[in-house]
């Protein structure tokens, strides 16, 4: 920790000036968002303070079970967020697919990244596990959200074409191929685009944090490059697993389209 200026609580409060500016603008323009802005600012503050103290404890007493528990909570929360986002629109089987794809996709990439690429010691070192799991799971969650949205939309708007393909003797897999491909595209596009602007348009959050805390920019860059590939891999893998299992949930065992594509 060489050379980083410690931000005292008082000076963090000064940063709340930004929130006040936004509130004033919103009030003057008559946009009805004050409540949300205040609530989400306070919520973020509380969540981060709490997380900070928990992490201090977790890093001081590394323990494989605690690390595992935190990863589990992250997964559970991301799955819960996805379910909430599509309130009621997901069938029970599609929900199961979300759980399977999120856990297999992110965990395999996480373990590969930490144990093969970075080679952390001890293997459960929470200082690496927790932040990197956060990035992989968070980005995969966004990817799955985009993917599910596009999949449901595709299956709804193109239902007639899918059914026509079935009538003409296509397997469900062939009948949904174009929907699946465009869904995959929609889900990983943001990740690909964020790689393009990286380092020129903006310095990514993780790198910024490392540089601020005194890490040499070249080390920070090495990490950033590796983590971006990790994120790309995790997003692609979760979305692919979700699609490979997910399209089937729109069909029954008899290869017939389910009457209701998703619950209303």
């Amino acid at each position: 920790m060489n050379g980083i200026i410690d931000l005292s609580a008082f000076r963090v409060v000064l940063a709340y000036l930004f929130v006040i500016i936004v509130l004033v603008i919103v009030r003057l323009r008559g946009i009805n968002r004050e409540k949300e802005i205040v609530i989400s600012s306070l919520r973020m503050t509380l969540q981060l303070i709490l997380t900070g103290y928990i992490l201090v404890y977790v890093f001081r007493y590394p323990n494989p079970f605690i690390t595992g528990g935190i990863i589990f909570l992250m997964e559970a929360f991301s799955v819960y967020t996805i379910f909430k986002k599509f309130k009621g629109k997901l069938s029970a089987s599609l929900k199961k697919v979300v759980v399977i794809s999120m856990s297999i996709g992110t965990l395999s990439c996480l373990l590969y990244f930490l144990l093969v690429v970075v080679r952390i010691t001890p293997w459960y070192n929470p200082q690496y596990f927790v932040p990197i799991a956060g990035m992989l799971i968070g980005n995969s969650m966004t990817g799955i959200s985009l993917g599910i949205k596009s999949l449901i939309e595709g299956m709804t708007t193109q239902k007639a074409l899918v059914e026509e393909a079935l009538i003409l003797g296509a397997t469900p897999q062939v009948a949904t191929r174009s929907i699946i491909n465009s869904t995959f595209d929609a889900a990983i596009l943001p990740t690909i685009q964020s790689m393009v602007g990286m380092g020129i348009v903006f310095l990514p959050g993780m790198m910024t944090g490392q540089i601020l805390s005194g890490t040499s920019p070249t080390t920070a860059i090495a990490y950033q490059i590796a983590i971006m590939f990790g994120i790309l891999g995790a997003v692609a893998l979760t979305v692919i697993i979700m699609l490979q299992l997910g399209y089937r949930t729109f069909f029954n065992k008899e290869d017939q389209l389910e009457d209701q594509l998703y619950k209303v």
Binding site: E164, A165, I167, L168, G169, T171, V174, D255, Q256
Partner: protein, 217 residues
């Protein structure tokens, strides 16, 4: 070829007994909403009866793989969807879906002639008129060369003259190749003139069932 035993579909259909014979032209007639399309969709295994069973050539349809069945029994749906692309793409689409070898242009043009569609293969399929799309969809399933055709109002968007020509071509083709047609039509005249058996459906039930014996004699 198809036998129905106590078949029900939700509260839409109730058919205690029904038989469709091989190498015949069987026509369903009946008011709108009576359940004709639903019957064809069951024959294609696009939906399954909620009760009862359908026997296809001696085997319960439930025991037959759906995709394989749909490749044996080709259906022209009531409002067939047209895919993006050219007329050639749309004719070939069934073969592509069934992972079969695509047809050569010579054969495609022959099919277009049969369905009286005088358009180049490169033309976009989306700009065709309703009746032209219907004939394109008919051509696309004729290309599959199946033993059984299920046709849901194959001539509903056509003028009388074209309708007559198309149905004439279909019946001749089927009789020559010893194939089977199950079709739905709104036109009593067409039903009387070309069918071996006419089945009238009313409110999901089989109302009358008659064989055109005098025509066969």
């Amino acid at each position: 070829m198809f036998e129905f035993y106590d078949v029900k579909y939700k509260d839409v259909l109730d058919l205690p007994k029904l038989e469709i014979k091989q190498e015949e032209i069987t026509t369903f007639i009946g008011a709108s909403g009576s359940g004709k399309t639903t019957i064809l969709r069951m024959l294609n295994k696009l939906i399954s009866p909620t009760q009862g069973r359908i026997i296809f050539n001696g085997t319960d349809l439930r025991q037959i793989n759906s995709v394989a069945h749909r490749r044996t029994v080709s259906m022209l749906s009531q409002s067939p969807a047209i895919f993006d692309g050219s007329i050639r793409d749309n004719l070939n689409v069934g073969l592509r879906f069934q992972e079969r070898e695509l047809a050569r242009d010579k054969d495609l043009n022959h099919i277009l002639e049969q369905v009286k569609l005088n358009k180049p293969l490169e033309a976009s399929a989306n700009t065709l008129s309703g009746g032209e799309k219907q004939r394109l969809a008919l051509g696309r399933i004729l290309l599959l060369n199946s033993k059984v055709y299920l046709l849901d109002e194959p001539s509903s968007a056509l003028d009388d003259e074209t309708e007559e020509m198309i149905i004439q071509m279909l019946t001749e083709h089927v009789k020559r190749e010893k194939k089977t047609i199950v079709m739905v039509t709104h036109s009593k005249a067409i039903a009387e003139k070309y069918s071996d058996t006419i089945i009238e459906i009313s409110k999901g039930r089989c109302l009358t069932w008659r064989c055109n014996d005098e025509r066969n004699n």
